[in-house]
């Protein structure tokens, strides 16, 4: 069981962390919630060998909402921009592009943004569907709709 749970932890650690950082903009908070979410998931279900990514993400979402509610911090935090080892000009262009896509992401409806974020981090559609209590068919449509909306917004901004 421990090996199975270790594999689950290693597979979903970065996915959950990316999702939490994108939601909160706080990597230390995200790390704490990530670890606590795995602990809670293991405590409640791990010993029965039930491994559920959807439950893990649900626990993490609730923990993050609880935390933000306590802090009265519901506004979207500016996301950190990835650094690059490229030269300064390329680095500047990368930062600009990253800032633009972040800005456009924030214009999507919150649940569509969450669903797309999970898809981009590599979470399977069936797990996203279970997390948000949607059908897989609905997730397929909403993921693609979010991507095409983003593309449209990026194109409109250039015009």
């Amino acid at each position: 069981m421990t090996d199975k749970y270790t594999a689950f932890y290693q597979e979903y650690r970065n996915k959950l962390f990316s999702y939490l950082v994108y939601k909160s903009g706080d990597s230390e908070l995200s790390r704490d919630i990530m670890q606590e979410s795995f602990t809670r998931h293991f405590h409640h279900y791990g010993r029965e060998a039930v491994i559920s990514p959807a439950l893990l993400f649900t626990i993490a979402r609730h923990a993050l909402v609880d935390h933000l509610r306590q802090q009265n911090k519901f506004q979207v935090v500016e996301n950190s921009i990835p650094t690059t080892s490229a030269d300064e000009e390329n680095s500047f262009i990368a930062r600009e592009k990253s800032a633009r896509i972040n800005k456009m992401m924030n214009r999507l409806p919150e649940q569509d943004r969450d669903i797309l974020t999970l898809a981009v981090t590599g979470v399977a559609y069936k797990e996203i569907a279970a997390t948000f209590k949607l059908s897989v068919a609905n997730v397929k449509v909403r993921v693609h709709r979010a991507r095409t909306r983003l593309r449209q917004m990026m194109t409109d901004e250039v015009k």
Binding site: D32, K97, V120, V141, H144
Partner: protein, 191 residues
Amino acid sequence: MDHLISMYIDNELDLDEKIRFLDHVSGSSRYKNDAVALLEQEKLLHGAINKTAPVTEKAPSRSRLVQLFSSPSLGWAVAACLLLMVSFFVTRDFNPQNRVAVEPATVFHRFVVHQENTRQMEITGSFTNWQRVPLVPTGTKGYWEISLPVSAGEHRYTFIVDGSKFLPDPTVAAQESDDFGTTNSILNTGA
């Protein structure tokens, strides 16, 4: 059918859907352009969203935990969770094989190759565990491209034309023959 593009990006296509997707890509330039544009956009999204969790075995800091789970009714539950978490991680630590390895830095590397009159281009290399990954045709001049995550270090790879002919990257001078009679290109990515 448009959502097949996102399913392709997210590796959600089954075999029948893959056939339908390829039919659409080859039969409609608009569809192909949409797919390539969304793949380009996906590179930006990956850069903006995908973060690597810091490798740490230590428990969350007490101050954060107090903030997060300060409800008195949760006190015993939190204590039990902490106990389990500590026992879980400590147990893992006793076995060196179970330690989480520090993953080398990974960056997206863009591979581009020019090959006209070709139905399919693939790439295989140490960064794909030698699995074949299809390239995406771009433009109308016979260029194919793909961006793949490549960890820092030295890698070997080759292109595959139409499923059978191996083609080392013509833009990379460093090459090496392997034990199977194939010439691989050598790629060095910085840390």
